[in-house]
Amino acid sequence: MNMVKLIIDGKHVEVPENTTLLKAAKTVGIDIPTLCYFELKDMNIENRPGGCRVCVVEVRGRRNLAPACNTMVAEGMEVFTHNIRVLNARRTVLELILSDHPAECLTCSKNGNCELQSMAQQLGVREIPYAGEQSKYRKDTSPAIIRDVDKCIMCRRCEMMCNDVQTVGALSAVNRGFMAVVAPAFEMNLEKSTCTYCGQCVSVCPTGALTEVDHSRNVINSLADPAKTVVVQTAPAVRAALGEEFGLEPGTLVTGKMVAALRRLGFDYVFDTDFAADLTIMEEGSELLDRLTRYLKGDKEVKLPILTSCCPGWVNFFEHNFPEMLDIPSTAKSPQQMFGPVAKEYFAKKLGIDRKNMIVVSIMPCLAKKYECQREEFKVNGDPDVNYSLSTRELAHLIKQSNIDFNALPEEDFDNPLGASTGAAVIFGATGGVIEAACRTAYELYTGKKLEKVDFTELRGLENIRHATLDFDGLPINIGIAHGLGNARKLLEDIRAGKSQFHAIEIMACPGGCIGGGGQPYHHGNSEIIKQRSAAIYREDSGKPIRKSHENPFIQELYREFLGKPLGEKSHHLLHTHYFDKSVGDFIEE
């Protein structure tokens, strides 16, 4: 690799060629401010449209200032990142951006978490000399995401996520000049677009232009209603990230404190989505084995690979984009939606209460879950199996506004019976985890032998698309894993073309899996945070006494007492679903 020598702010720097000035400056401790620039290192995610112009620097010999994010180093270059010309230009550009931004910081849901706000603070902006007309747009509320694009600063991060990473194509720049903004085509509502509600646009938005629909008020009202029994379930990835909202190091596991906090918030039963994840493995794993054995016997009716179906963003994606392949994903509901009927049809009956008087709340790292729990097929006579889905961020707010000192809380255990889980369930939170959990169970069910080494490390990691061949006692099983919908699309197109070699594929909509979900605490482009969360998930797994779903005694009890057997009549009714062709947008009718 050729090295290039240059001078930045008087410091001699030597970096490989094709390094940006931004990165070269970082090597000598110069942190040039950026706004539109965004990178998730080691995850192939980068946004550098060179649009905000906050990172401009002076390069000797050039007439104009140069964007550090988009200018490559050159031999002998002399760069000034904070001389008077640069400081004045940078401040003026920021003042311009602020002049077209609503001054609603006090009531904005991103207050305290807004990169534009931090930048104004960092550059010491105390007034906006270029005040003028502000661009105004229609506010758009979908089942999961609110677009308040008066606050859009055209950083294009959401567009990059939606198009380049997720290949969903719901968001792109529309209009020109002062009215240019990122929106669905024809400025239609997000709900009418191909949006999957993966929430990755929300997770990268530097301002309050894209946020989640907040259901915490509904939850507070339910908790205050004495007629309701309020049950909560918490997804695996939440415990690995919630602590960040309370100043704890990324990767700190806060399972016990989270349970304690939920109890103090007034939930009648604090249960675990992990229980439902174990249940998912029983159903999905059995379905995998069923399809696999029939396939191996030469049954032409059976299609492989089988695809996991626990990610609602992914379900939306294939319903929109691959409607001819609706029979390939597993019919198993997601853990959130398995938990719902088990709570309302099994646990409520145990308690002797009507399902209408039970409120099921889920805490999810995800925004698509908000949409999923509102799907018509997941309701009984209008009563949803899961009433409200809150994001990790909303839970943190709920805890803060209820005067709970989170860090001082004791560690408490989940309630039973729907709170017990295995290590296999916890790893649902990381990419590759669901298929690993499924293989732990499928192996033993298929071979009848005990699985000694439960860690399938070959299925772990952050590469976009991973594949591994597992040995099921002489039978090679080809596993594919994709995280991020753009990667999923590649695997799906292979299947469509008849080129797929896989028996089973796990797909998660979000980069990193649920730990990188759209409802998680904002990572602000720090991929280390996602890696730490992942490590925490696997730590929790290895510390669990039971690490295979089918060994969960409460799952066994549930089948004994209520469900019968996996893929049985009752399971079919309560724990499996079907998919819809959503390839034709509703907007065509309008």
């Binding site: 905000c52 490559m72 055209m154 720049a173 020109r176 000049g177 002062f178 240019a180």
Partner: protein, 486 residues
């Protein structure tokens, strides 16, 4: 006409653009033939480099060097693009060439393909130029049938063909990276250079983008030689430039003059002077994002470098002449209105900054400006130029900055005296009745659409300024010149 030399326009109006024979009769396709049979690509590029031809689209980048860069990139496919997205209001030199001499563009593009190693050419043309499109298509059909375009051109084994792509009329799509994105079916907005299109352009392949007028110069340079071409013009700007003369001038229209011709020659000798014998005030060059030249620039030779030094630019060659009746603040506002409308919105200084410049100018022309606002215009204009992503934002403040530089007193008058000397800014005007001329005929009062004029018969009338909308009807109707503008 003596000052003019026609190179780019040499065939326009002379030949029938729908007959290839007419073009051939004027040495058409002779350059292509000699290039394909006698010259190596390197030799052609050398001729161009020595000729000193610079890009006529506005930037002024040496054409030969651009061709050489494209040639030197190794790729399995390269493209030649003709930028025919003429977007400057009032400019129509590209249109005239395309409508009057379409073959010259085809011939030059083919030569470019041979030199750079491209086998495909694309003409990006505004859909608002239907006649140009039609004539290009006719010309392409003719040259294909005569073996001058397509497979095995002139039996030399060289293959090159051309397609047309339509632009929807966005000004920014004249910027080459935006143009390429538009051709790719993407949003027409620019991206950061480098990479330059010559290295990574259309479909990520090396793409040589030249403007129509640049191409129109190529065949004749090959035919007549670089020495002939470089003998015309100034030291660093060779050849001629086509200008679209417009505004308060007697002879409007296209002119083609050697580089280095002075503004005085253009206005007074070719343009026939200012209309109605009024005084020359300024000339806007470089289109809406150029700057204005004033009386002190009348004897400056016009070329790329002198125009930039004067705070303007060559641009595509628009030249709008203003006289003493033009308000320079209002002129700056007029141009800003255009760039505010035409900014793509990608980078913040251009998207928001131009809007703010416009608002400040509006404030000043409405009589609400302060001296601080003039400082703000200066700072903001400079920052927009220095920080914008593409040529549009890097030049859009020029009309503001150059009018502030050249006519500071007009800005000051608007701000401190609340006065527009050219009587253009309506908010600063007052219609007044001259008492000793008014005979009280009531005609003005009866014609005032907003009942702002009161007064008894045979008494001096009075205009209520709070009601007056400055339509001027009273002044038009008054037979006694009793109404004046203050």
């Amino acid at each position: 006409m003596a000052k003019q030399i026609r190179i780019a326009l040499r065939n326009c109006g002379v030949i029938d653009p729908e007959r290839i024979e007419d073009y051939i009769a004027r040495d058409g396709y002779m350059a292509l033939a000699s290039v394909l049979t006698d010259l190596s690509p390197e030799a052609v590029i050398e001729i161009l480099k020595k000729s000193g031809l610079r890009g006529r689209g506005g930037g002024g980048f040496p054409a030969g060097i651009k061709w050489e860069i494209t040639r030197n990139v190794v790729a399995d496919q390269k493209y030649v693009v003709c930028n025919a997205d003429e977007g400057d209001p009032g400019a129509f030199m590209d249109r005239s060439i395309l409508e009057g001499d379409p073959h010259v563009v085809l011939e030059a593009m083919t030569i470019n393909g041979y030199c750079t190693g491209a086998s495909r050419g694309l003409i990006y043309i505004r859909a608002e130029y239907p006649l140009a499109v039609e004539r290009l298509k006719t010309a392409m059909g003719q040259s294909r049938s005569m073996g001058l375009l397509g497979e095995n051109i002139l039996g030399t084994g060289f293959n090159f063909d051309i397609d047309i792509r339509y632009g929807a009329g966005a000004f920014v799509c004249g910027e080459e990276t935006a143009l390429i994105h538009s051709m790719e079916g993407l949003r027409g907005e620019p991206t950061v250079k480098p990479p330059f299109p010559s290295v990574e352009g259309y479909l990520k392949k090396p793409t040589n983008v030249n403007n129509v007028e640049t191409f129109a110069n190529i065949p004749i340079i090959i035919n007549k030689g670089w020495k002939w071409f470089s003998s015309i013009g100034t030291e660093k700007s060779k050849g001629t430039k086509v200008f679209a003369l417009a505004g308060k001038i007697n002879n409007v229209g296209l002119i083609e003059v050697p580089m280095g011709t002075t503004l005085r020659e253009v206005i007074y000798e070719i343009g026939g002077g200012i209309q109605y014998g009024k005084a020359f005030k300024a000339a806007q060059t470089g289109g809406p994002s150029g700057g204005c030249l004033t009386v002190k620039h009348l004897d400056t030779p016009i070329d790329y470098d002198n125009l930039i030094a004067a705070g303007s630019m060559m641009g595509s060659g628009g030249l709008i002449v203003m006289d003493e009746d033009d308000c320079m603040v209002a002129i700056a506002k007029f141009y800003l209105e255009f760039t505010v409308e035409e900014s793509c919105g990608k980078c913040s200084p251009c998207r928001i900054g131009n809007k703010r410049l416009f608002e400040l100018l509006e404030k000043i022309t409405q009589g609400n400006g302060t001296m601080d606002d003039i400082d703000k215009l200066r700072n903001l204009g400079t920052v927009i130029k220095e920080t914008s992503l593409c040529g549009l934002g890097q030049s859009s403040p020029n009309p503001v900055l150059s009018t502030i530089d050249n006519f500071p007193e007009e800005y000051h008058e608007h701000v401190t005296g609340k006065k527009c000397r050219s009587k253009v800014c309506k908010s600063l005007m007052q219609y007044l009745v001259v008492a000793d001329k008014c005979i009280g005929c009531t005609l003005c009062a009866r014609n005032c659409p907003v009942d702002a004029i009161s007064g008894e018969r045979k008494q001096v009338h009075f205009i209520d300024q709070s009601k007056c909308i400055k339509c001027g009807a009273c002044m038009d109707k008054c037979k006694f010149n009793a109404i004046i503008i203050n």
